[in-house]
C-alpha cells in the first residue's frame, strides 16, 4: 500500500470510526454502514483539510468507494502540484 492509500484509509477510519485493519481498499459505500449523505460530507471535508484540495460540487457525490476517493485525490493533488511547477 502506498502512502496516499494509507492516508486515505486513515481518514476513512477517523470519519466512520472503523479501525484501519477492518477497512479494505475494495470497500464501497455499501460496505460501510455509517457512510450516508452526512458521512459523505464529513468525508469530503476531511479529505479537503487533510490533503489541502478542493472538490468540485459535481465531484462530491461521485466519491462512492475507497478506490474512487484515492483516484480523485491523486488527480486533484497532481493538478495542484502541476500548478506550482
Amino acid at each position: 500500500m502506498n502512502e496516499l492509500e494509507q492516508k486515505v484509509l486513515t481518514v476513512f477510519s477517523k470519519v466512520f470510526n472503523i479501525s484501519v485493519e477492518n477497512l479494505s481498499l475494495t470497500f464501497t459505500k455499501d460496505d460501510i454502514d455509517s457512510w450516508d449523505s452526512l458521512g459523505q460530507l464529513q468525508l469530503i471535508m476531511s479529505f479537503e483539510s487533510e490533503f489541502d484540495i478542493k472538490f468540485k460540487t459535481q465531484e462530491i457525490n461521485q466519491i462512492t468507494s475507497i478506490q474512487k476517493s484515492i483516484d480523485y485525490i491523486k488527480h486533484l493533488t497532481d493538478v495542484s502540484s502541476n500548478n506550482v511547477n
Binding site: 452526512l38 460530507l41 464529513q42 471535508m45 479537503e48 472538490f55 468540485k56 460540487t57 462530491i60 457525490n61
Partner: protein, 560 residues
C-alpha cells in the same frame, strides 16, 4: 442534559461537531436535531418530539436566504419587498414567543440574523428602498427587542463570526447547494465553539478572580525606577493603552469578578501610584486582596487563595513576565495563565477577547459580589476583635429571610447547586429546569435562605431541597455559600425546615452526607444538630422528641 437544534437548514454536521467537543467535559449530554426545516411544525405541534423531550437547551438557527428565498427573487412591486421581508420575520418571532411560552423551563438560544453572502445588491445596497442589509438590521433589532422581554431567550451573536473570520472562511456555497447548509468545515468548528461559549456562560462556568501585576501590566514602565510622573498611563499615546486596559478590567470588576494584585514592588511606592496617579482607574479599594512585596509570586498566590477562599481553578493570572507566568503555571496547573501580548496596544483587546469571564445575565449578586467580599473582611476583623463567639454573632445583627423558592430565585439556586463545593451535604448538581420541576412538584420543597447583617445584604446564601414522604421529610440537598460559613445560618435554615415538617405532621427527618474532596466544612452538620446516624452517612432525627438548637442571635423572617 438534552440539547435540541432547531432550524431551517441542515444542522447535523454542526450538532455532531458540537457533541464531540462537549462530550469531553459533559459525558451525559444528548444532542437532538430537528428534521430539515421542521422548526415551525416542531414549535406549533404540541405533540412534537421537542415538547415531549423538554430539552434543557434549545439552539434555534434560521438562515435568512432560506427564510426569504421567495421574496428575494420576487418580481412583484419592488417598493413593498422590504415590508414583506419584515412581515416574514415577525411571523417567525411569533413562533419564538410560542416556543418560549411552551418551554418556560428551558433555555432558548437564537442565532441573530445575517446573509451569508456579500451584499446582494452591490452598490445599490443601502441606496435603494429594498436593501437586504437594512432588512437584516431591522430583523435583528426586532429579535433583540423580543429576547429582552422573554426570560428564557438569549441571542447568540453568530453574525460576529463574519467580522472575525470572513465570509469565505466560514461558508461554502457547495454545501449550500448539495447539503442545504451554508457552513464550511471551519465555519462548523467556529460555530460549535461559539455555541459552547454561550452554554458555558449560561451554566456559570467562568473564572472568578483576576490576579494582576503592576509594572508593564497595569502601567508601562517600572514604578520603583521611573517614578509616579514617568510611568506610562495617560489619556493619549501608549499611556492610553494602559488606561483603556484598566477600563476593561474595571468592567469585569463591575460584573463581580474579583481583582487581586500580585506584584514585586515596594509596597508604599506602588500604593502611592495606585491611589494618587491621576489616570489610575483601579484604586486600592477595587482589589479584594493585594500582595505587593518581594516574595515569590507562587507563595503570594497560595496566600491569596487561602484569604479569599476560592479554588485554584477560579483564578486567572496576568503578568507581562514570561518567567512569572511559567512559575505559576508550573506550580499551579489549575490556574489559567494566558500569555499577555508583547505590545501593550493589544492589551485592551486582549481583555475583550478573553473567553473566561462570559456572562449571559448579570444577577444582583454578581453586581454586589465585590462589596460583599469586602464586607466579609470587615466581619472577619470583628471576629478577631471579639473574644466570645456568641457576642460576635450578636454584634452582626443578622436577619435571615427564609421561604420557598420563587421563579426569580431559580437561576441563583441552580447556580448554587452547580458551584458550591464546601458546605454542600450531597453535592447534587441541578439545572434550572430541574429546580423548576422541584418547585412545582407536590412532594418537593425548595427553600431559600437570604441573610442580611449590619454590613449589608449577603444575598441568597443558602438553599435546601427536601422530599416530603408521608411521615418523613428527606433532605435531598442542603447548601450554604462559603461567604457565610461559621455564622450559624445553616441552623436557621434547618430549624425552618424542621418547623415546616412538624407543621405538616411529619414524624421524622432524615438526610445523607455524601463526602467529597471539598465538603469537609459540613461533615459534622447532622451530628452537631442532634441527628442520629443509623447507617454510614445516613442521619435521622425523630421530630417528636427533637431538640431544636437555639440561635437567638439571628432574627428570622419567614417569607411565606
Amino acid at each position: 442534559m438534552n440539547i435540541y437544534f432547531l432550524g431551517n437548514y441542515t444542522q447535523e454536521l454542526i450538532a455532531k461537531e458540537f457533541e464531540v467537543i462537549t462530550k469531553k467535559e459533559t459525558p451525559d449530554i444528548n444532542v437532538f436535531v430537528s428534521g430539515y426545516n421542521q422548526y415551525k411544525q416542531e414549535i406549533i405541534n404540541k405533540e412534537s418530539l421537542l415538547y415531549s423531550l423538554k430539552p434543557e437547551i434549545i439552539i434555534l438557527s434560521l438562515d435568512l436566504f432560506t427564510l426569504l428565498d421567495d421574496l428575494i427573487y420576487t418580481e412583484s412591486k419592488m417598493d413593498s419587498r422590504i415590508d414583506r421581508i419584515i412581515d416574514r420575520i415577525e411571523e417567525n418571532i411569533k413562533l419564538f414567543i410560542i416556543l418560549s411560552d411552551n418551554l418556560s423551563g428551558s433555555q432558548i438560544f437564537i442565532d441573530n440574523f445575517f446573509f451569508f453572502r456579500p451584499a446582494t445588491m452591490a452598490t445599490l445596497e443601502y441606496n435603494s428602498s429594498n436593501s437586504y442589509l437594512e432588512a437584516e438590521e431591522i430583523s435583528n433589532l426586532k429579535l433583540t427587542e423580543l429576547a429582552r422581554k422573554l426570560h428564557n431567550v438569549k441571542i447568540i451573536d453568530t453574525k460576529s463570526l463574519i467580522k472575525q473570520f470572513g465570509i469565505n472562511n466560514l461558508f461554502d456555497e457547495r454545501m449550500h447547494y448539495i447539503a442545504k447548509s451554508h457552513w464550511s468545515l471551519n465555519g462548523i468548528k467556529q460555530l460549535s465553539k461559539l455555541y459552547i461559549r454561550y452554554i458555558n456562560a449560561y451554566k456559570g462556568k467562568r473564572k472568578k478572580c483576576l490576579i494582576l501585576d503592576l509594572d508593564n501590566t497595569l502601567w508601562g514602565g517600572i514604578i520603583g525606577e521611573d517614578g509616579i510622573e514617568n510611568i506610562q498611563l495617560s489619556n493619549d499615546g501608549i499611556g492610553k493603552a494602559f488606561y483603556d486596559f484598566q477600563r476593561e478590567i474595571y468592567k469585569l470588576y463591575k460584573r463581580g469578578i474579583l481583582l487581586v494584585l500580585n506584584s514585586k514592588n515596594s509596597k508604599d511606592i506602588a500604593l502611592n501610584a495606585i491611589d494618587n496617579h491621576p489616570y489610575m482607574i483601579l484604586r486600592s479599594k477595587h482589589f479584594i486582596c493585594s500582595k505587593i512585596n518581594w516574595n515569590n509570586k507562587a507563595q503570594n498566590l497560595e496566600e491569596i487563595a487561602q484569604e479569599i477562599n476560592i479554588g485554584m481553578d477560579s483564578f486567572v493570572f496576568l503578568d507581562d513576565s514570561p518567567f512569572e507566568r511559567e512559575l505559576i503555571s508550573t506550580r499551579f496547573p489549575e490556574v489559567y495563565v494566558p500569555e499577555l501580548p508583547e505590545d501593550p496596544s493589544e492589551y485592551p483587546n486582549f481583555i475583550r477577547k478573553l473567553e473566561v469571564f462570559d456572562f449571559l445575565d448579570i444577577t444582583k449578586d454578581d453586581l454586589h459580589r465585590n462589596e460583599m467580599y469586602i464586607e466579609n473582611k470587615k466581619r472577619e476583623y470583628l471576629k478577631t476583635s471579639i473574644n466570645n463567639i456568641e457576642d460576635f454573632y450578636y454584634s452582626l445583627k443578622m436577619i435571615a429571610s427564609i421561604g420557598r423558592v420563587t421563579d426569580f430565585d431559580i437561576p441563583r439556586i441552580s447556580q448554587m447547586t452547580q458551584k458550591t463545593n464546601q458546605f454542600n451535604l450531597t453535592t447534587k448538581r441541578y439545572t434550572m429546569t430541574e429546580i423548576k420541576n422541584f418547585q412545582i412538584a407536590e412532594n418537593y420543597d425548595v427553600y431559600v435562605l437570604n441573610l442580611t447583617d449590619k454590613f449589608g445584604d449577603n444575598g441568597i446564601v443558602g438553599t435546601a431541597i427536601v422530599k416530603k414522604e408521608s411521615k418523613k421529610t428527606v433532605i435531598d440537598s442542603f447548601i450554604l455559600s462559603c461567604r457565610v460559613i461559621g455564622r450559624t445560618a445553616e441552623t436557621a435554615l434547618l430549624n425552618y425546615i424542621i418547623r415546616e415538617a412538624i407543621k405538616s405532621g411529619k414524624r421524622k427527618i432524615s438526610g445523607e452526607f455524601i463526602e467529597t474532596k471539598k465538603n469537609s466544612p459540613c461533615n459534622n452538620f447532622y451530628k452537631s444538630h442532634n441527628f442520629k446516624q443509623i447507617r454510614k452517612n445516613y442521619w435521622v432525627a425523630n421530630l417528636e422528641t427533637y431538640k431544636v438548637k437555639d440561635i437567638p442571635w439571628i432574627k428570622i423572617n419567614g417569607t411565606n
